[in-house]
């Protein structure tokens, strides 16, 4: 017997795991027929999920928290038992703006702290308040660029204009001079670099080495009522994710995603993020960034509650939500490591024993306790060396 499942997604490189689960038959093996619903705005994706037109969605992790906390137009309790990727974002700025930064682009990207200070100085030299496109208020892009800018004393609500621009319109908005730069998921940063409109200024993975990005979100009541389907889907995604991480598959994956009904952009642009070979400026050889976008290895899909709470802490910091114990509890509970463990209990996927960790404390790959097999956690440092103890959110917030 097969179950039909509808999942909404945005055409981005990091929808790869969903595309592969369908096209390579991983979902079918679990008795699931996946119907992937292409959507072009986060608002419509959210509405489709909130009103039950789809059973799950490829969602910005902070948006899942915001919808649950009632901060978005359609409040609904959401649960995210699976992370579809970590990292994969790039901040690009118009060439004229980037002139005020370190001309050695590789050095610029390697030193986010120094670049943030250069960026702060460049703001004063620019003809107007720099307008930076972000894909959504409740996106890791927005929270990460705020975190980065603030490290150099830039007030993101005062010194720059963060303007919401949907990913698919970022390049056009650059061309029309409506924005001076943007941060978005791939392939859009690469597309702007290729078009000669912009160059890379910061890379998500260099700001937070394991930055939470998209999650698979369900309405909580539906998730609770359909454990077998949810578990089957998670098993299919885990196998699809392993396939996506395999370097030998990157070319085929890029071709798959380049099709009109998926990302609809050239395969070679898409492959850059998958293979971690990033062109930071059109006239430069590509840079090796093996952790640019991850799907599977080092327990990437595991939804650490501490990661949800870090996102929440930043939403509090920027006054998007008031910090109360209830809000913190609700935000943390959006991530569902319990479901992840249940779904993969019989598999050979190594699963962390804990549900929370101190974020930003792992400097080099670390072997940790796991239910099964060897589990290595990748480095998860923040560029400014801060650590986030999820048990002490108030202290963390007071440190800014």
């Amino acid at each position: 017997m097969t179950t039909a499942l509808r999942i909404a997604y945005l055409p981005l490189t990091d929808s790869a795991v969903l595309a592969v689960a369908r096209e390579k038959g991983f979902a079918e093996e679990e008795g699931i027929t996946l119907d992937l619903v292409r959507t072009t705005s986060w608002a419509t994706l959210r509405d489709r999920l909130a009103f039950g037109q789809v059973q799950a969605a490829h969602m910005l992790a902070p948006l899942a928290i915001a919808v649950t906390l009632g901060l978005s137009q359609q409040p609904a309790p959401l649960s995210a038992p699976y992370k579809l990727n970590v990292n994969g974002n790039m901040l690009v700025m118009a060439k004229e703006f980037a002139q005020a930064l370190d001309p050695d682009v590789a050095a610029r990207l390697d030193d986010p702290l120094g670049t943030a200070h250069d960026f702060a100085a460049a703001i004063g030299l620019w003809k107007r308040k720099p307008v930076i496109g972000v894909v959504h208020r409740f996106s890791s892009h927005s929270l990460m660029s705020r975190y980065w800018l603030a490290s150099a004393g830039v007030d993101p609500d005062r010194d720059v204009l963060l303007r919401v621009v949907p990913p698919s319109l970022t390049v056009e908005a650059m061309r029309a001079g409506e924005i001076d730069g943007f941060i978005a998921g791939e392939p859009w940063g690469s597309a702007a670099v290729d078009a000669g409109l912009a160059e890379a200024v910061a890379i998500g993975e260099r700001i937070w080495q394991r930055g939470v990005e998209k999650v698979l979100a369900f309405r909580t009541p539906w998730l609770e009522e359909n454990p077998h389907v949810v578990d089957g889907l998670i098993r299919a995604l885990a196998r699809a994710a392993a396939w996506c991480d395999e370097p030998a598959n990157h070319e085929a994956l890029a071709h798959l995603l380049s099709q009109p009904h998926f990302v609809d952009q050239p395969a070679d642009l898409i492959q850059r993020a998958l293979s971690g070979r990033i062109t930071a400026r059109a006239d430069m050889p590509s840079l090796d960034m093996p952790d640019f976008m991850l799907f599977s290895r080092e327990a990437t899909p595991f939804p650490w509650r501490s990661q949800a709470l870090w996102l929440y802490s930043q939403m509090v910091r920027w006054k998007m939500v008031e910090h109360t114990p209830e809000n913190a509890a609700k935000a943390g509970a959006v991530f569902r490591p319990d479901i992840f463990r249940r779904a993969l209990a019989e598999s050979n996927v190594p699963i962390p024993g804990a549900s929370m960790k101190v974020e930003g404390a792992v400097a080099t790959p670390l072997a940790v306790g796991s239910k099964r097999g060897e589990l290595t956690l990748g480095p998860d440092r923040f560029f400014d060396g801060r650590v986030f103890d999820p048990e002490r959110i108030e202290d963390f917030l007071a440190s800014f």
Binding site: A43, T44, R48, F51, V164, P166
Partner: protein, 193 residues
């Protein structure tokens, strides 16, 4: 009641606008979601905003709704959150509505219902148009395949068509697919017309 329609498709927006005018609404504006559309919208201070659900610019609009000081009252989507069938119909039709909070829902409901009907009618029209286009191009492909058969195999036109049709039936394919395969093969072999 001031109604703003935000839509990329000029034709669909016009279809909707006409319907609204016929229903007696006369303060209607169409704004394409490009460039500084948000600033324009703020100046217009609409009571109801209708927008294509498929427009990527919905995120930009919602951001404005959450930070705008120009719009005195917050705007909520859909008329009545409890009216599931209305919401379902709107999503199916591909239209979203933002309504100034405080506007009586009896006043807004007919606007949304009309928008849903008009969006559906437009979608049907579009489908028919697409089908007509496909039929036309199918016929061209079949004609070309027929003429290849006629010149290469010395068949009459009815015989060429019969051959195409029986091959399609034997292979369980559509005639147009068999015709396309024949054209491709003929091109590859250099015998194309």
């Amino acid at each position: 009641m001031r109604i703003v329609i935000i839509d990329d498709s000029g034709l669909r927006a016009t279809v909707l606008e006409e319907g609204l005018r016929e229903a007696g609404y006369d303060d209607i504006h169409i704004v394409p979601p490009r460039g500084g559309f948000v600033a324009r919208l703020e100046r217009m201070a609409p009571d109801v905003v209708l927008m294509d659900l498929g427009s990527p610019s919905r995120d930009t609009l919602e951001e404005m709704l959450s930070v705008s000081r120009a719009l005195a009252r917050p705007i909520a989507m859909f008329v009545d959150q409890s009216d599931e069938s209305m919401i379902g119909a709107a999503i199916d039709a591909g239209v979203s509505a933002y309504v100034v909070d405080g506007l009586r829902k009896e006043r807004v409901k007919p606007v949304l219902e009309l928008a849903v009907r008009r969006f559906n009618a437009f979608a049907r029209l579009q489908t028919e148009l697409d089908e007509a286009r496909t039929a036309l191009s199918d016929r061209k492909i079949i004609d070309r395949a027929k003429s290849i058969l006629m010149s290469q195999r010395g068949l009459s036109e009815p015989d060429a068509y019969t051959l195409l049709r029986s091959s399609a039936m034997n292979q369980g394919k559509k005639i147009v697919d068999v015709a396309q395969a024949l054209i491709t093969a003929s091109d590859l072999l250099g015998g194309g017309l």
